[in-house]
């Protein structure tokens, strides 16, 4: 993976552990996670629910601090959130009192004049295919459209790294596939490093360069699979199905039921 425009967008996760201290006692959530993600790489993280995937992303973003270990983005240690690391959540987290345009504009960090601001907003409204909906309010939009707005809001600062936490989990199957194509398009246009958390194995295979399989809580990296299939990928091709089978094998390694039961 080349380093584009000289900007280092690599993510280096070194020995990250996380223990939540609850009144009932300690809850270990992540256990010594090591992972190097190259500049511009597309990584997916799959794992059963509650295994610490969101916590993992939140630590990369700086929203949560690690109990042990460090995260470096572009060689700089992460100690707080930054506009250079965009985050997209499952709930689109739009401001209900702002229109589509205003929600996207909320993302703008650097000082720009009125003209430049307008251009920037217009460009990003177009990028996520929402032209014509500039003045709509979130409650008037479908789930897919809301997620597009949140993507535009995250992209407007040109973040080097984009973290996506089950961004399409709440969408119907067809909209989800549509949004996956959009993300690929945006990824090839923006050349940012992507870290996608998903419980949809097909989504992970369709999108990513590598797939990280996490264990149950406390989460550690069970395996990292390369997806050596040229894009656009055919979900029913043989290599696609082989990778799918591999991932399911990891998931159900300890299960009493045979793999064939699930496939």
């Amino acid at each position: 993976m080349a380093e584009h425009n000289g900007e280092d967008k690599s993510v280096d996760i070194r020995g990250v552990s996380k223990i939540f201290t609850l009144s009932a006692g300690d809850l270990p959530v992540l256990d010594k996670v090591d992972l190097h993600i190259s500049s511009g790489e597309f990584i997916s993280v799959v794992g059963s629910s509650g295994c610490g995937k969101s916590t993992f992303l939140r630590i990369i973003s700086g929203l949560e601090s690690a109990t042990a270990g460090d995260v470096f983005i572009g060689g700089r240690k992460v100690d707080r959130p930054s506009v250079k690391t965009g985050v997209i959540f499952q709930e689109s987290r739009l401001f209900p009192w702002l229109s589509v345009e205003q929600n996207i504009a909320f993302g703008i960090h650097k000082k720009v004049d009125k003209e430049g601001r307008k251009k920037l907003i217009c460009q990003h409204v177009g990028l996520v295919g929402l032209a014509g909906f500039e003045n709509a309010y979130p409650r008037q939009l479908s789930g897919g459209m809301r997620q597009r707005v949140s993507i535009a809001r995250a992209l407007i600062n040109k973040p080097g790294v984009l973290l996506l936490d089950e961004p399409f989990g709440a969408l119907d199957a067809l909209t989800r596939i549509h949004m996956q194509n959009e993300v690929l398009r945006i990824w090839s246009a923006e050349k940012s490093t992507m870290v996608l958390v998903t419980h949809d194995v097909d989504e992970a295979i369709f999108l990513s360069d590598r797939i990280v399989v996490m264990s149950d809580r406390p989460g550690y990296i069970k395996n990292v699979l390369d997806v050596d299939i040229s894009r656009p990928r055919d979900r029913s091709s043989v290599p696609f199905m082989e990778i799918r089978k591999k991932i399911y094998t990891h998931f159900f390694a300890e299960s009493a039921l045979s793999l064939e039961y699930y496939l």
Binding site: P81, S82, V83, W97, L98, F106, Q140
Partner: protein
């Protein structure tokens, strides 16, 4: 749009049924002599006396004085309520510091403040405006701080990720998300302000709509008294309606889904 406005006309018409039926029954009972007309003047008598006071400018004069007091007291009380409510909502320390004193002072009935305020501020405007300010202050304070405490953590995180300053967070995330609560506080505040002005004037005043009631009682003019009481009711309703209008306009985003076409 047409269907909507038709619907709202219908709603208003339905709302009028009960009061009109009530007045008609009252009028009939009064004319038949079933209600004692010296303590229950008929609606038509009340209306005549109301129009008489309006034509001589008396009603407007008293009403205007009361409204002016309400505006002054409401402005002072709601600004204080907003500012202190915001501070309490934002800071746990301020909340801990203030909660005992608020718990102590808030249950004091407004009427109990009147002699105290007269003692401190004298019998004229200042004591009345202060009473109204206190009456407005509490609901605005409580609802503002509650709204701010309730602001969605998930939305705050969006601001944090986008490296917004504290001031930007307050102005663009925290306060807007508290708006529905703040407006509830303001509406309760207006209602309370209106009650307070009447109370204050009824106890110690030489003008205003509350004074008019007590004055009419002393002079045994039940129609005047009832005119004033009904004016109070109607003006209270109008004040609430105005605020509701403003709220709807400002909180358009908060409305339930409407048909778009």
């Amino acid at each position: 749009m047409n269907a909507r406005s038709k619907n709202s006309v219908k709603a208003i018409a339905i709302g009028f049924i009960m009061p009109v039926a009530f007045l008609v029954a009252w009028e009939i009972l009064g004319r038949r002599g079933i209600l004692n007309s010296s303590i229950f003047p008929t609606p038509s008598r009340i209306f005549t006396s109301f129009m008489d006071m309006v034509s001589r400018g008396r009603m407007q004069k008293h009403l205007l004085i009361s409204l002016l007091r309400v505006v002054k007291g409401f402005c002072v009380g709601s600004v204080l309520g907003l500012v202190i409510g915001t501070v309490i909502g934002l800071s746990n320390a301020a909340n801990a510091l203030m909660s005992s004193i608020i718990g102590l002072l808030r249950p004091i009935p407004m009427v109990a403040w009147i002699p105290v305020l007269i003692l401190w501020l004298g019998i004229d405007e200042a004591s009345k405006v202060t009473l109204i300010a206190i009456g407005t202050f509490w609901p605005v304070l409580i609802n503002t701080s509650r709204g701010i405490k309730n602001s969605d953590r998930k939305l705050l995180e969006v601001g944090i990720i986008l490296e917004k300053t504290r001031l930007q967070m307050l102005a663009k995330v925290v306060l807007p998300s508290a708006f529905p609560f703040i407006f509830t506080g303001l509406r309760l505040g207006v209602g309370s302000a209106w009650t307070c002005v009447v109370t204050a004037e009824a106890i110690a005043a030489a003008s205003g709509i509350g004074y008019l009631i007590m004055y009419a009682r002393e002079l045994s003019q039940p129609p005047v008294m009832f005119s004033a009481v009904m004016t109070i009711a109607v003006v209270g309703l109008i004040l609430d309606a105005i605020l509701l209008r403003v709220e709807k306009r400002v909180l358009r985003w908060n409305e339930p889904d409407e048909e778009r076409g």
